[in-house]
C-alpha cells in the first residue's frame, strides 16, 4: 500500500468505528429504560452516524473509484469492516452499554486529539468537529458509570460485571498495525503507545470514582482491525444492510 492508500484505509477504519457504534446505539431507540435517556442515546448515536458519513465520504473521495459513502456503509461485506470488536458487542443491559461507551470514548477522545494535530488537513477538520461531540458523550457516559458503580449493590455488581466482561476487547485498541504505524510516521497521527498510558490513567480515574475495580489484564481479544469479527457482527450488518441490499438504489 502506498502511504496515500494507507491514509484512505485509516479513514475508512475511523468510519467503521463510528458507524458500527452508531448502529448499535440506534438499536436502543424506543428501547431505553427512560424517555430522557432514550433521547440522549439517540442524539449521541446520530452524532456517530454523522461522523461516519464524514469519514466515509472523505475515504470515498480519496479512493476515487466512484463509490459513495452509502456504498461503503451498505455494500461492503463483513470482513471488509475494520471496526474495533468492542463496538460490535451487543448492548446487553444498561451497564454494558455505558461501560462500552466509557471504554471507547476515552480512547476515541485521545485519538481525535492526536488527529487534530495530524498533517492531513481534512482529517484534522473532521476530528475537530467529532472531538466536540465526543467530549459530551464521554461526560454523559462517565456520569452514568459513577451513578451505576456508586449506586445500589445491584447496579454496582452489574457494572463491575460489564467492566470485567468488556475489558478483553480493549487490548486491540493499542496494538499498532501497519496503518497505525503509517499514520504515526507519515502523517503525525496518534502514537498508540503514548495513548495507552493516558487511556489507562483516564479509565482508572473514572473507574475508581465509580467505586469499581479495574479488571486484571487477562487475555485480550483481537481481529477487528483485520476484519475478523465476533459472531455478533454478522447480525448487526445484516440488519443494517438489509434495506439497501433488498431494494438496490431505493430512495424515499
Amino acid at each position: 500500500m502506498t502511504s496515500d492508500q494507507q491514509l484512505t484505509a485509516y479513514t475508512l477504519r475511523l468510519g467503521d468505528n463510528a458507524l458500527v457504534l452508531g448502529q448499535r446505539m440506534l438499536e436502543l431507540v424506543a428501547a431505553s429504560p427512560e424517555l430522557e435517556e432514550e433521547l440522549a442515546n439517540a442524539n449521541l448515536a446520530l452524532d456517530y452516524i454523522g461522523q461516519a458519513r464524514l469519514y466515509y465520504s472523505y475515504a470515498a473521495e480519496r479512493e476515487g473509484q466512484g463509490r459513495s459513502e452509502d456504498d461503503l456503509a451498505f455494500l461492503r461485506h463483513e470482513h471488509e469492516f475494520r471496526n474495533l470488536l468492542l463496538l460490535e458487542q451487543p448492548n446487553g443491559h444498561f451497564g454494558d452499554t455505558i461501560v462500552r461507551q466509557v471504554l471507547f470514548d476515552t480512547f476515541y477522545q485521545l485519538q481525535l486529539a492526536a488527529l487534530l494535530e495530524c498533517n492531513d488537513e481534512r482529517l484534522a477538520e473532521i476530528a475537530a468537529r467529532a472531538a466536540k461531540e465526543v467530549r459530551y458523550h464521554l461526560r454523559h457516559a462517565e456520569r452514568w458509570l459513577v451513578r451505576l458503580g456508586d449506586g445500589t449493590a445491584e447496579s454496582h455488581g452489574r457494572a463491575q460485571q460489564s467492566l470485567d466482561h468488556l475489558w478483553r476487547y480493549t487490548g486491540e485498541m493499542f496494538v499498532a498495525d501497519e496503518l497505525d504505524a503509517a499514520m504515526l510516521t507519515n502523517f503525525d497521527g496518534p502514537d498508540l503507545e503514548l495513548m495507552e498510558g493516558e487511556w489507562r490513567r483516564a479509565v482508572a480515574a473514572i473507574v475508581s470514582e465509580a467505586t469499581l475495580e479495574l479488571p486484571d489484564a487477562g487475555s485480550m481479544a483481537g481481529g477487528g482491525k483485520q476484519g475478523i469479527h465476533t459472531e455478533h457482527f454478522g447480525f448487526l450488518i445484516a440488519e443494517m444492510q438489509h434495506l439497501p441490499r433488498s431494494f438496490p438504489g431505493e430512495r424515499w
Partner: protein, 95 residues
C-alpha cells in the same frame, strides 16, 4: 428493582446572550447533574439555546389557582397602569 420514579425538573433556556431564561418544559432525572444533561438532550437539539437552568419542580413556590381572583382580578380595572393614553408622534419607531 425499586419502582421509584425520577423526580421532575423544570427547564429554562436562554436563547441568546442578553435575553432572559424562559421556561421550556420539564424532564425527569435521577439528580441535578443528570437533569442538566437530559435538558440539553431534550430541549437544545436544534440550537435552541446558549444557557440552561434546571430546578426541581417541587422547589418552585407557585401561586394557588384558588386565589387567583384575589391576586390578579384587582389589576383588571386599573387601565391607567397601562401606557395607553399617550399620543405617539409620527416617526418614532422604537417606543
Amino acid at each position: 428493582m425499586t419502582e421509584k420514579e425520577w423526580p421532575l425538573y423544570e427547564v429554562f433556556i436562554r436563547t441568546r446572550a442578553g435575553l432572559s431564561h424562559r421556561h421550556a418544559g420539564s424532564v425527569h432525572a435521577p439528580d441535578d447533574q443528570m437533569a442538566l444533561d437530559n435538558a440539553r438532550d431534550t430541549y437544545t437539539r436544534r440550537s435552541e439555546g446558549v444557557s440552561l437552568w434546571v430546578v426541581r419542580s417541587d422547589k418552585i413556590v407557585a401561586s394557588d389557582p384558588a386565589e387567583s381572583a384575589a391576586l390578579f382580578d384587582p389589576a383588571e380595572d386599573k387601565i391607567y397602569r397601562h401606557p395607553t393614553f399617550y399620543e405617539i408622534p409620527d416617526g418614532v419607531e422604537n417606543l
